[in-house]
Subunit: 236 residues, 2 copies
Amino acid sequence: MKKMIIASTSTVHGSGPLEYLLPTLEEFFKGVDEIVFIPYARPSGVSYDEYTQKVSSAFEKIDISVKGVHEFHNPKEAVKNAQAIFTGGGNTFELVNQLYQHDLIDTLKNVLERGIPYLGTSAGSNICGVSMKTTNDMPVVYPPSFDTLAMIPFNINAHYLDPDPNSTHMGETRETRIKEFHIFNTTPVLGLREGSWLEVIQDAIKLKGSLTARLFQREKTPVEIEPESDLGNFLS
Amino acid sequence: MKKMIIASTSTVHGSGPLEYLLPTLEEFFKGVDEIVFIPYARPSGVSYDEYTQKVSSAFEKIDISVKGVHEFHNPKEAVKNAQAIFTGGGNTFELVNQLYQHDLIDTLKNVLERGIPYLGTSAGSNICGVSMKTTNDMPVVYPPSFDTLAMIPFNINAHYLDPDPNSTHMGETRETRIKEFHIFNTTPVLGLREGSWLEVIQDAIKLKGSLTARLFQREKTPVEIEPESDLGNFLS
């Protein structure tokens, strides 16, 4: 009995942190008083306390209190006993590194399989996939493994960006990078544009938001998935 | 006695592979008949043979033949006996992974310290730094380590891109990513723009090309380095 929201980004352009998601979150977290927040991804190197404070301000608007997992004496127990969990964005390498350092991977997986509501944004969404091998982040630290929670049978590419036809830059486009991933891996990859999220209820994985998402499968032409579609129908 | 060219990119917009560098390479590789090419980075997943063929066509224009390191029975011996070496761009994770699989890291380091001329572009330049932790590439494979050749006392960020003031994208800018690197690491990082390269002769590391490069040091304001400067003067 999974219950998850897996969002491309915490923040869309021109709006406050989590603002675009708040109506959805209010419904999704109905009955939850307190969320345990995992701040390990540290966007721009912000401290755990500062990051938790920022998230707390956003959730105040829907009357939910937020406690950072680092504030607990035993992070593992905190995750096990959480009413709900939110993992924020930042650097996926450092997030995964810390999850392994605190031996939280299996604990988190078990809790999510029990149906404890989970919100992930950006890096916090990447870890819901099979591996973190389709993150856009810089490998600033070396985690003990790239394997992640595998709560969905594919990988996420958060902040998915379409190729810019006017670009003169010679670095790889996002699509080229994902194609390179499929030279070495068979896991499907969902390019989630900013403003899109997945709603996972048990085995149903529905695309939400107003945009389409781009699904890449090895040796297949990528396809655009319409909002409200169940991803399960497209995976082979 | 090092002798290296460490270039941001193999190709600048609107020009053929290596074209902008050919006059420099003709001078740099004077007396060299054959280059050993390391194709492990496989841009867009191209095969070693195809990649070597493409590079061979470029070097034909300056009368140098190219042999892929994969064509030799023993890659280690090939590197040891090379007149000159070129490592091309592509995916840095896969490049580093293959260098470790073939146990070539120390061999390459020794050869370069002996003064065998070396050209690196993009991923092939990233490996000249202390670690590959400032690559832009996607972590499509898990290498046994992020440590690289450390032929220069800093890291390279190839294809360096300035922040786009008009962007509405919420993903991290390159500068933010490098700042995140400096939360966890002390190694300086040089952002090399496309069209720039470093010429390393012994301990002198000179910036070449017409553009400035951006040097990031931990807890310092980034500085722009002018062409023809010696990087050693800026590292503290």
